[in-house]
Structure formats: C-alpha cells, structure tokens
Symmetry: C2
Subunit: 217 residues, 2 copies
DNA sequence: CCTAACTCGAACACCAGCGTTCTAGTTAGA
DNA sequence: TCTAACTAGAACGCTGGTGTTCGAGTTAGG
C-alpha cells in the first residue's frame, strides 16, 4: 500500500505544496514521460511501466514520483491525447451544411483515431469504462451537437435514438482504424469511405443518399 | 516449459492415442470446462484458469490435462461459440430480397453478439488478431456473400470496398452490444436500430433509404 | 552559494497467475 | 473384476510486473 493510513485521499506521488510551481526539470520529466508513454503504448498496449520509464530516459523511481502507478499514468496519457484531439477539432468549421460539417469533422478526427487507437486499447484494459467515457466528453458533445443540428434541419434521421447515431459515428471511425491496421483498408481511402457510409447511415428513411464530396482533403 | 525437449510439437495435454476415443467422464469434463469458461469469461474477461476450473467443478490439474494453458482454453471457447453461432445462423433464410435477408441475419446475430461480447473481449486479449479473424471465417463469408448478392442486384452500394461493408456490419452490431451493456441502448430496440442504420449505410448514393420493416421479430 | 527539490539505480518485498509435480484415490469399460 | 484412464488437491517453483525503500548524487533557483 502506498498509504498505510486508513481513510484519507491519495497519499501518493510528490505532493505539490499548494500554490507552488514544480521545478523546471520536474515538469520537463513529466512531459517526456507522457510523451514516451504515448508512443510506447501506441506500439504495444501492454508496455510495462519499466519500458516507459526507459523510453523516457528516466528512472523508474522518478516515474513513480510523479504518477501513482500504471493506471494513473495511462489516465494522464489518455487525458492529454484527448485534450490535444479536442484542440485540433476546435479548428474544424462545424457550421454550415451539417453533412459537409460532419464530413470535415470525420476527416480531421480520422487521423487522430487512427494514430492513437492502441492508446485507447491500453486505456480500455486499465481504466473503467465510465472514465474512458468521461475523458471523451467534450468530443462526444461536439458530435452530438452537430448531429442534433442535422436532425433539426431534417437532414439526419430521427427514427432512432440520437445517442445511437453518435455511437455509429464513433464506431465507424474506430472500425476503420482497426481495418486499416490490419491492412484491410487503405489509410488514404479511409476518410472518404467513412464519410460516405456515415452520411448514408444518417440519412432519414425516404430520403436520397448523398454522394460523397471527394474534393476536400 | 511443458516440453523440456528442443524441437517437436505440443508435448502437452493428455495425448490422445491415435484412433482412440476419450473416456466418457473425460469428455464430460471437457464439456463442462468449456461451459464454465464461457460463462465465467462472459462475466469477467479476466477470469483466471483457477476460477474457471472451480466453476466447472473440476481440479485445476484436470483442466491442464485437457488444455495446454489459458490461451488454448480460450481458443476452444471461442471456437465453440462461433461454431454454435454459425449453426444458429444456418437456420436463417438468406435468400430473397437482400435487404430483408440482411435484416433477418442481423436479428439473429444480434442476440449472439450481445450475449458473448465479453468472450470476444477476453479472446482479443489472449489470441492474435489473425486467429480471431480465422475463427470468424464462416460467418464472415456468410455476410460477405449476402452483401455481394445485394451489390449484384444493385440494392447495395459499390462505391466503397466490399470488405468495408462487411466491417461496417460487424462494427455496428458490436457497437450496439457495447452501448447496450452500458445502458445507452435498449436491448429490445437494438435489432431494429441496427438494421435501420445498416440498410441506410449500404444504400447506394442517389438511391432512397428504405424504411425498416418492423414487423419481423 | 546553499538548500530544497529532484533524480538515479539497485535492491527488495510482494503478489497473482501460470504451469508442473507428486501421491493417492476413483471410475469407466473391456 | 481388473486395469488403464482419469481425477483430486496440495505443494512447489517460476515469471513478470508492481510499488517501495535506501543512500548518494545532481540541479534549479531564491
């Protein structure tokens, strides 16, 4: 046990004196640990803490000085990854025609999903589903909002739960990432294919399935 | 090492004298081990070999007498599960209108996917992807064939790789199973919702999205 | 420049699951 | 009925990862 005490909260890693800044080298190390963890986990979801420390050019002890164990480390990696992703998606224009907006969103998300799929897999082994969900919150909300707007304009179907349409969106992107990793789908084809399928899936019964706009990157 | 010898193949579990039958009690035990493993893994993908043996009402040693370790056991479970599934799907009529046929297929597959999702998860941790793929072969082929037929009749799209349409089918079912397990989708709604989304996703650009036939179970 | 913050590596205890071995007992089935 | 097949269960050693401790060294930064 890290804490031999009974109740209390995290007794853990280097306690940060309230209101104080960490020392510069410490901050630098934390950053390289998260970097290393990200790339290690991307290559092997089972990478051990030792592997990660080594890849970060840091002692294992130092790592434990900053993170209360594997789970907390992975949580940090996942959190940063999704924060970065969210920032990237901020640059995407989600106004205008909902179908085009969704296509743009897929185009931008795709790369990220593809790149970090193994990180997600690692996280799924280590963290509870609610946590994974929580970390995705902002992105989830983004997609939900766009879908909602498309439903209001009548371009997206309303005969199934909205939540399901969100799930469909994520599901297709992750499936594409997996297929891609398995060599069953060409990476440079993925965005187009996902968008085409997704737009069709969202089309209300009775309406016509739109052709894909292949002009955009 | 199970084999202290150098080369040679599996030195492992009770060698079956060629052409001979196992003794009745042995066969019975093997069956209950696989049964127990299936239900244990369905409840917890990380269930240990010890847990499974206990659940099967069998000694751990006996289990090792029949399976060369956890991986082989899980392989057996997965294999049997998919063989059963395949048998069930044999009863489904996949002739006639491809859209209706696919709807029937989804209706029948859905229950299975939902029920055994955790078994799959366990297998994904233990077995290499190619193996998982191989075990799915017959079912995969079944879906592929149906989609191919729908493409020939012009009811399913041809502007994306066929493989991707197969992936889409599986992806949506598994996503529904997960959503269901997380309480985000009602189990009794799932089949309808999957079918509706999938049929739309498969519709060729320019065509009209069909309404779901809610009459069937 | 001096101290507190931080780092290092090796060593250690620990734990859980795996797979094996041994001895003894039970049971199928010719 | 008699033997070979099978089973039980406890004990053991192994492996691999986790988290902690120690003592000594380095470095940031007031």
């Amino acid at each position: 046990m890290a804490a031999s005490q009974a109740g209390r909260a995290r007794p853990a890693a280097q306690t940060v004196p309230p209101g104080t800044q960490r020392r510069a080298d410490a901050r630098r190390n934390i950053a390289s640990i998260i970097d290393a963890a990200t790339s290690c986990l991307a290559h092997d979801p089972d990478a051990s803490v030792g592997d990660i420390a080594r890849a970060a050019g840091v002692g294992r002890v130092t790592l434990y000085g900053h993170f209360n164990g594997r789970a907390e480390l992975i949580d940090a990696v996942l959190t940063r990854t999704l924060a970065d992703a969210d920032a990237t998606l901020d640059a995407v224009d989600t106004t205008g025609d909902p179908r085009e907006a969704l296509t743009r969103l897929v185009g931008a998300s795709w790369r990220i999903v593809h790149q970090f799929r193994s990180v997600l897999h690692a996280a799924q082994r280590e963290l509870p589903p609610e946590r994974i969900r929580a970390v995705h919150d902002r992105i989830l909300r983004r997609v939900r909002t766009l879908i909602e707007r498309g439903q209001r304009t009548g371009q997206f179907r309303r005969d199934v739960p909205r939540q399901w349409l969100v799930t469909t969106t994520f599901s297709l992107m992750h499936a594409a990432a997996d297929d891609c990793a398995a060599g069953r789908l060409r990476a440079d084809d993925a965005a187009r294919v996902i968008a085409a399928t997704l737009l069709a899936a969202l089309t209300p019964p009775g309406d016509t399935v739109p052709a894909v706009d292949t002009s955009r990157s």
